[in-house]
Amino acid sequence: MLIRLLRNYLRPYTTLLLAVTALQLVSSMANLYLPSLNADIIDQGIAKGDTGYILATGGWMLLVTLVQIACAIAAVYFGARAAMSFGRDVRSAIFHQVGTFSAREVSHFGAPSLITRNTNDVQQVQMLVVMTCTMLIAAPIMCVGGIIMALRQDVGLSWLMVVSIPALVVAIGLIISRMVPLFRAMQTRIDLVNRVLREQLSGIRVVRAFVRERDETQRFAKANRELTGTALSAGRLMVLIFPTVMLILNASSLAVLWFGAGRVDSGQMQIGALTAFLMYLMLILTSVMMATFMAIMIPRAAVCAERIAEVLDTQSSVTPPANPVNEVHAQGELEFRAVEFRYPGAAAPVLRDISFRSSAGRTTAIIGSTGAGKTTLISLVTRLFDATSGSVMVDGVDVRELDPDLLWRRIGLVPQKPYLFTGTVASNLRYGNPEATDEELWQALEVAQARDFVEAMPGGLEGPIAQGGTNVSGGQRQRLAIARALVRKPEIFLFDDSFSALDLATDARLRAALRPHVKNATVVIVGQRVSTIQDADQIIVLEDGEIVDLGTHQELLETCSTYLEIVQSQLAAEAAA
């Protein structure tokens, strides 16, 4: 997955990457050349007392250094460019893909997970690309180059590399492989600590009301102890790395000197070459060390890449029609014809055999217990889901045949969770109708019983709305969401349990004000309170995904026992007594 992702999204930047490789190659070679020049200073200059040679070689070294930094900087430039472009493109691809998703795919992943995938996960992979461009590429070049240069100095000592490089890799690998499970455990323990705290914070009233502060503190202390214990173990392993690496590096250099001494003494090697060999070995070991550290980024990036690929490979279950119907004549007519909906692989359908009709000026209410399928039913109209059999018709055309933009333009949705966007009251109200005038906004607010509090808000229409609408109360949010749908002036209104957070009086006033406003539209109201829905032209009683009964309030009171039960529970406790 990681490789596929990298291949696909780095392809446009092949030139940049090639440049990075070339530059790192030159830069590494320059770095490697310096000890060799130094060896010349010793062997040719010092040993022969040739001051001129020393100076000339020194100048040469300076030049090499300059080349090195120029290449290194250019490599960083191109590398950063490639990596960041990669990140940008992947983010863009994910975002676009999610945009095409239907509600089913979004709920399948969950919005928080999608957000993480689009941000953090991309960041992880991007980090790997950055590190690769700046360090990981250089490591093998350094390593191979170092080995070649070292061999050029003296082949006889090369067996030392065969010993020390694996020794280093094995030592670091052993420590890190033990650390990985600990880090994993640490992450779950951190999660636990956070969860306990989050619970304490969100349930602070309950904690205090039930006088459980002490027990909560103990619960936290336990989580804290466990976390600290794991962090201690992980930390103890971590502090092993540095001394171990240093010891291996230093011991190797001593070995070079000892075994090199024999070869110098027998005249097989010069002193300068020995010094250079020493430098090369250090360079090689350092780059091996770096590469090992970097390598442990790969598994993590691979997990992230998998999660990214999962999103990119998911096809939306709702696809726009190939030959969309672009024109319809009738106004706001809604019909369900023997509609069934089931999740793929699910044993029982969420909805089955749903048939009803509604036309402009009529209100259809849907009542039923949680999980009866009310929200799903509404989502079939907006094509957040598509029916698995039967058809949903708007103005006589199957919604799957309609141009999606045309369909959506006709619908005003007030979702169960009245989400508001960052911005102002006005920007939220204009969400579905950017051209609406201020007057129209006020009108909608008035109907939605939101005029008073919007007027009282600092800034009025331009009053700020925080992300999700968290700076207004649940009831206010719901009223703004209703106003937002009203501003759209649609032909079909879908209210999904949109009055639940309103107190009784406001609910009543709102519905009264709404009535004249929607008289030319089809209205579908999902509700729980009988008072909210009793005036509807038809009430659908939904249970376990099926229509139990359909009729007016009066009719249902007489014929439908389920409905009667609902009424009884809400209104008639005292009437029956």
Partner: protein, 675 residues
């Protein structure tokens, strides 16, 4: 409804020496505290250091071990230099005729006009004709090996101890913050966003831990190394040491310049990250709305712009901060060249041995790296102190008033509550409740009705002493609640909140939340009385079913029932109920009503009521509007008064009740006939 999400968030695996992924709010995609500058760096840093005081002894040991380890390590190159000298002498000596003395060779060289060579040879212990002295070499190398081994052991011991110190300190800090949360007054939590507090106790403490661990160990190591290496360099060759010393200010300037510029870029990167993140979050959370309101194109347009901005900022940040490595390497290389040349010249004229130059090159390599580290540590340190500051800020928040030293208790708990001229306001300029008096006799039900934001919740919170009165007093069975310990007061009050908070644990533990020592029988009795028992039996694990954090294992109505059972179990003398407005299905609704009724029987109850039945049955109805009680009385009285209550009643129950009343007797029979 929805299927299992395909994969949980994996946030594992941390590279050593790199901060682990932050939980949220932080990290590259949270715009957390990384770049925030502390307001008072000095005092906050001192206070952070002060927190380490209990570990003084260990810290001293850490320092001692660190100094020893660095000292041993720093001597290393010098000894290797000796080894090089032995090699060099041997190599030269082997080429000289064996019958001459060193002095003769020097003289010969000088005579031959090779003054340089003569000087060099004069400084060396060359025995003409003799090769490398392997005995001496072995000794030197063994000493070096011993030093290195010892140094590594000391370094490890130092890290080990430091790790303990830091972890223990962080443990303490975390425990202290958690303890603090329990002593903070509730208004504090109302004013602060939950995420913001949470982020302080999690992200910020994590960040402090990271910074402490990394800055202490690396600063210590780097600083000691710089000093040690410098010392050795001066010992070996003052001239070359001066040359190397020039790199100190140069590296510092380069590092700080780069840091300053990249800092700016990083700030821009976090800012743009935050903006993009916010946009993604909104677009995905409001996905349905975006789709149905036909805003995909606009949303994607905004995304593209922000994504491009983020790209530019992060490219800048990455590039500029990426310069530090090559720059430092360049300075290191310049230094290397200078030492090679100057050293070479000095060896050639005999004022230095080759081994010394060799040692020097190694020293200069060890010199630039810790310098870079110290420079780059500044950022980490700053972010750590900024986090510490936020944690300290929390720790410094004023706490709830202490419980009275000499607490009183009612002789007997009957549940008589009296409000005597109480006033309360959240903000000074905005009175919320003014001069309110009322009496609730034992066993009475007080229904509080009124529109959202009228102050209903505030009123009941005052009884719990979640907020403190500004004037007047509330007595419970004749005793001022402010004279009681909060614990005593609250343990006699049962509370059922609209927000059904349950903690992640079994159903049994959740029921027994207010009475951890409850017997199994008591729990079952409470569960049966409140209709919890029924649905628990249908769960595969019964009372051992674990409530998930998001409450996905049971329905909303069942959660409400559980909170009622929880209050039932503690058998309180006073009840506070906040009826849920959120909708549950019909059958659960009936159960809820009955459970509430069971809970209320024979107890004084304050109910924030939304249901007509509750309101009508109440002994006293308080009608609140804009923080005031505008009417009080029972249902009939208030209806007759034709005031606020009448309006409310008419608005909501108009029609439905009339219809029901006029329904045929058949309907009445039908209803009565139902179980």
């Amino acid at each position: 409804m929805s299927e299992q999400p395909p994969a949980k968030d994996h946030r594992v695996l941390t590279a050593p020496n790199r901060p682990p992924p932050r939980q949220f709010g932080g990290g590259p995609f949270g715009g957390g505290g990384m770049t925030e500058k502390p307001m008072n760096f000095g005092p906050s840093a001192r206070r952070l250091v002060g927190r380490l005081r209990p570990e003084r002894a260990k810290l001293l040991a850490v320092l001692g071990l660190g100094v020893t380890s660095v000292a041993l390590m720093v001597v290393g190159p010098r000894i290797i230099g000796r080894a090089t000298d032995i090699l060099f002498s041997g190599a030269i000596g082997r080429q000289l005729p064996p019958h001459l003395t060193n002095a003769q060779v020097v003289a010969a060289a000088r005579a031959a006009g090779h003054a340089n060579v003569a000087d060099m040879l004069a400084r060396m212990h060359v025995v003409p004709g003799q090769g490398i002295d392997f005995g001496a070499l072995a000794t030197v190398l063994l000493v070096a090996l011993a030093l290195y081994v010892a140094s590594s052991i000391f370094s490890w011991a130092q890290g080990y101890l430091l790790n303990d110190v830091v972890q223990r300190t962080v443990y303490q800090l975390r425990a202290e913050v958690e303890g603090k949360l329990n002593r903070l007054p509730l208004p504090f939590f109302d004013k602060q966003a939950r995420g913001e507090i949470l982020s302080r106790v999690t992200n910020d403490i994590d960040n402090v831990a990271q910074s402490l661990q990394q800055t202490i160990s690396q600063l210590l190591f780097s600083a000691l190394t710089v000093v040690g290496v410098l010392l050795m360099m001066f010992l070996v060759s003052p001239l070359l040491a001066l040359v190397a010393l020039v790199t100190v200010p140069v590296s510092m300037v380069v590092a700080t310049q780069v840091a300053k510029r990249s800092q700016k870029q990083f700030v821009a990167q976090w800012k743009n990250t935050g903006a993009l993140n916010a946009h993604i979050e909104e677009a995905f959370t409001g996905h349905d709305l975006v789709t149905v309101f036909g805003r995909r194109r606009e949303v994607e347009q905004v995304f593209r712009e922000r994504n491009q901005k983020l790209f530019e900022a992060s490219f800048g940040a990455q590039f500029i901060s990426g310069l530090i490595m090559p720059a430092m390497m360049f300075i290191g290389n310049l230094n290397y060249v200078a030492i090679a040349v100057i050293g070479g010249l000095r060896v050639a004229n005999g004022s230095m041995t080759l081994g010394d130059v060799q040692a020097f090159i190694q020293y200069s390599r060890q010199f630039t790296q810790p310098l870079t580290q110290v420079a780059s540590m500044a950022n980490l340190l700053q972010s750590g102190v900024a986090s510490a500051e936020r944690v300290f800020e929390l720790l410094d928040t004023p706490e709830e008033s202490a419980d009275p030293v000499d607490p009183s208790l009612p002789a007997e708990w009957h549940g008589r509550v009296e409000f005597e001229h109480i006033s309360f306001r959240y903000q000074l300029e905005q009175p919320l409740i003014e001069d309110l008096s009322l009496v609730a006799e034992p066993g009475q039900t007080i229904a509080i009705v009124g529109p959202t934001g009228a102050g209903k919740t505030t009123l009941v919170n005052l009884i719990m002493r979640f907020y403190e009165l500004d004037a007047g007093r509330i007595t419970l069975d004749g005793v001022d609640i402010a004279a009681m310990r909060r614990e005593d007061l609250r343990s006699h009050i049962g509370m059922v909140l609209q927000d059904t908070w349950l903690f992640g644990g079994t159903i049994r533990a959740n029921i027994a939340y207010g009475k951890p020592d409850a017997t199994e029988e008591e729990i079952h009795a409470a569960a049966e009385a409140t209709f919890v028992d029924r649905f628990v039996h249908s769960l595969p694990d019964g009372y051992d079913t674990v409530i998930e954090e998001d409450g996905s294992s049971i329905s909303a109505g069942e959660m409400q029932l559980l909170t009622i059972a929880r209050a039932f179990l503690i058998d309180p003398s006073l009840l506070i109920l906040d009826e849920a407005t959120s909708s549950v299905d019909t059958r659960t609704e009936v159960l809820l009503q009955r459970a509430m009724a069971a809970l209320r029987s024979d107890r004084t109850s304050f109910v924030i009521a939304h249901r007509l039945s509750t309101i009508r049955d109440a002994d006293l109805i308080l009608v609140m509007e804009a923080g005031r009680i505008v009417e009080q009385g029972n249902h009939e009285q208030l209806l007759a008064a034709r005031g606020a209550y009448h309006r409310l009643y008419a608005a909501q129950f108009r029609g439905a009740v009339d219809e029901l009343a006029t329904e045929s007797s058949a309907l009445a029979t039908a209803i009565a006939g139902r179980p």
